[in-house]
């Protein structure tokens, strides 16, 4: 593959995939440590009804209504789970299972009922995303990176996911100490006067934000895989939070880059011309990384 092809067809999906992986893996560290790993799973399921609702209201596939719709759905889900857990006195896992399956079912039903024949909106697209299609048609080679006219043709998903990744990194940097303290020792955090509940809610909100933005770009399967696999693998490598977060970022980037490359050129090694799903391959690589960490990680026990 020459430079021009690489920049046009692989650079932007690689960048978007890597940024999405980072945006999910970083908050995922705290979800895994706080035993809320499945929050990411739940959020990525409930995004579907939000998107369908936005489509039914506006009648078009446009970004902002969909982001708003999915964010609203995520909030409704979190509130419902909390209400069922507290008022129904149901254990959190089951409460989560009730809410996200019901909301996902509602999304599928609404999708089947509405006329989406004219637009590209279906369940499979929502699940697998379409990383391969986020190409940069205006690029003619590496020099396009300096060409304002070509830069204007970059896929808009790139800007959104960059923004969210930046926000996640900034949030992590600013709130590092309270995050770390309240994650490891909630009681101690309380005695320090830290707003423990607000911190917990903030982590969930940041995760929802990352999930929604990443979902828009790469589909829900990468989102779920990146929330859990890189942080879980990183957890098996070290006992120190800072090192763990760094490992998780490295694992997420490896999974994104290696997965995308394998999906695009892996089948050619077996004599097939057709690429396989990039989203699926990224998730698979993340799973393999976790398996290796579970077998050989220095802090696996």
């Amino acid at each position: 593959m020459n430079g021009a092809d690489f920049v046009a067809f692989s650079l932007t999906p690689l960048l978007i995939g890597s940024l999405a992986a980072l945006a999910c893996a970083l908050p995922g560290n705290f979800l895994v440590l706080r035993r809320q790993a499945l929050v990411g799973d739940a959020i990525s399921h409930v995004v579907l009804p939000g998107i369908v609702l936005a489509f039914l209201v506006t009648g078009t596939i446009s970004t902002w209504p969909m982001l708003l719709g999915s964010a609203a759905a995520a909030i409704v889900a979190v509130v419902l789970i909390e209400a069922i857990r507290r008022f129904g006195r149901i254990e959190p896992g089951a409460a989560m299972g009730v809410v996200f399956t019901a909301m996902f079912a509602a999304g599928v039903l609404a999708l089947e009922q509405s006329d989406t024949s004219g637009v590209h909106l279906d369940v499979e697209h929502a699940l697998f995303g379409n990383l391969e299609s986020l190409i940069w048609l205006d690029a003619t080679g590496w020099e396009s990176l300096l060409d304002p006219a070509a830069l204007a043709g970059l896929p808009p998903e790139l800007f959104r996911i960059s923004l969210v990744t930046l926000a996640v990194v900034a949030g992590l940097a600013v709130f590092w100490r309270p995050l770390a303290i309240s994650t490891f020792d909630e009681g101690f955090a309380k005695t320090l006067g830290l707003p423990v509940r607000a911190i917990g809610l903030g982590i969930v909100i940041a995760s929802a934000l990352a999930a929604v933005a990443a979902f828009d770009a790469v589909g829900s399967i990468i989102v779920i895989a990146m929330f859990i696999c890189p942080p879980a693998a990183a957890r098996l490598m070290t006992n120190r939070l800072g090192v763990q977060v760094a490992w998780s970022a490295v694992f997420a980037l490896i999974a994104a880059v290696l997965g995308f490359t394998l999906a695009g050129s892996g089948p050619a090694w077996f004599g097939s011309e057709n690429a396989v799903s990039a989203a699926g391959m990224v998730g698979t690589v993340a799973g393999v990384i976790l398996a290796c960490a579970a077998l050989f990680g220095p802090a696996r026990n």
Partner: protein
């Protein structure tokens, strides 16, 4: 049309699909109960997602060996194998590494599902000349279901129900009190494995009807619903089976009554409606009865505190307290006690004083812990004990 569907008048095939769905719903409800009571409801989510690579692998192997890749028993066997490996992966990750079970569930779920998607895209590019249609396993599809498939699903559901009946005692024991179960000689790991095997069977059988993303709803929602109605394990199992069956029956009927109504999501949504109604209106554990209980408690505490204040000649500032006392004819608008109010206030003060003594008496400590601001001490202690307390309080003093 809906009535026809619900009374099995829509032709042989639709009827069979409904019957299969109902059996599946019952099987999922009763099996899910044990999973829910063991607090491991979401393990089923990992099992369900881990079926996808098995479906893909089975399809590829069937096609490569010259068979029809869509042969349902073959696909289900493949899905059972990878689901089993997914289940073992969850067990292994959560017992042998430091990862908690929820992280293990999420990791297995996403990695297996991702690999399944890779296989699906491989299958799409295989030139078999036919539409694989494996996507229907994601969300289920009863349209165009073969007769043999429906029979397979119905028999699978029946088998699971029979097995649950067989293992009901040890499974109830284990899910109710694992510690007691293991000291009384039940092999915990074996029963857990049986339970998970049954969950796996329900998942595999349910793939075709509700799909792998939603099959967990059949395992989770009916038991959670049933739990609102009773505290007894056997009853939770029976009710969960009934709720699961009803949801499947209504959902499949609704879905057959009009086009564009997918079966799986409808069954899940009907199930959720039954859940919502139960959470709102169930006796004791329902929201409405909790609310009523809370109001009653609040009223009781307000009246008690109001009476105590009046007995000690303190003014009452809380408007709600005055309103409640006036409503019962115990106080006037300015917060001063009526005749009846004076009597009740004196009684409340005496009761409060008796509680105070009881609290300070070591042998009455346990009983005194039942003080909640409205229980009368006569309901807790015997007349002899109260007489003893009264002796220690001494004779009534003159009211200034």
């Amino acid at each position: 049309m809906l009535r026809d569907a619900l009374t099995f008048q829509l032709g042989y095939n639709a009827t069979l699909v409904t019957v299969a769905a109902v059996l599946l719903g019952i099987a999922a409800g009763v099996t899910g109960t044990f999973l829910f009571l063991r607090k491991r409801a979401l393990v089923s989510d990992a099992i369900a997602h881990a079926t996808l690579p098995g479906i893909g692998l089975a399809f590829i192997m069937l096609t490569l060996s010259g068979h029809d890749g869509r042969y349902l028993p073959g696909l289900l066997a493949g899905s059972a194998l990878t689901a089993m490996s997914g289940l073992f992966a969850v067990q292994w990750l959560s017992s042998r590494t430091r990862l908690s079970e929820d992280a293990a569930i999420g990791a297995v779920l996403s990695a297996y599902f991702s690999f399944g998607i890779v296989l699906l895209t491989v299958i799409q590019t295989m030139s078999t000349g036919q539409q694989a249609g494996l996507e229907s396993f994601l969300l289920g599809s009863t349209a165009g279901m073969l007769l043999t498939d429906a029979i397979l699903i119905a028999l699978g559901g029946l088998l699971v129900v029979a097995l649950v009946f067989l293992f009901r005692r040890p499974m109830s024991l284990v899910s109710f009190d694992p510690g007691f179960a293991s000291t009384s000689g039940v092999r915990l790991d074996r029963i857990d494995l049986t339970m998970m095997g049954l969950v796996l069977a329900v998942t595999v059988v349910g793939l075709k009807v509700v799909g792998l993303i939603l099959v967990v709803a059949l395992l989770i929602i009916p038991p959670v619903t049933a739990r609102f109605w009773t505290n007894r394990v056997e009853l939770v199992v029976l009710l969960a089976g009934a709720f699961g069956g009803i949801a499947a029956w209504l959902g499949a009927g609704l879905s057959a009554s009009a086009p564009d109504l997918p079966t799986g999501p409808l069954i899940v949504l009907v199930s959720f409606c039954i859940f919502a109604i139960s959470m709102a209106f169930a006796p004791r554990r329902g929201l409405l009865s909790s609310l009523v209980r809370h109001r009653r408690f609040q009223t009781g505490v307000h009246i008690r505190q109001g009476l105590l204040a009046m007995a000690q000649g303190q003014p009452i500032y809380e408007p709600l307290t005055i309103r409640l006392l006036r409503g019962r004819g115990l106080a006037r608008a300015d917060g001063m006690p009526t005749r009846e109010g004076t009597v009740r206030a004196a009684r409340a003060l005496r009761d409060e004083k008796r509680w105070e003594i009881a609290r300070a008496t070591p042998e009455l400590e346990l009983a005194a812990a039942r003080y909640d601001g409205r229980t009368q001490i006569e309901d807790v202690l015997t007349a002899d004990q109260i007489a003893e307390i009264d002796r220690r309080i001494g004779p009534p003093e003159a009211v200034q």
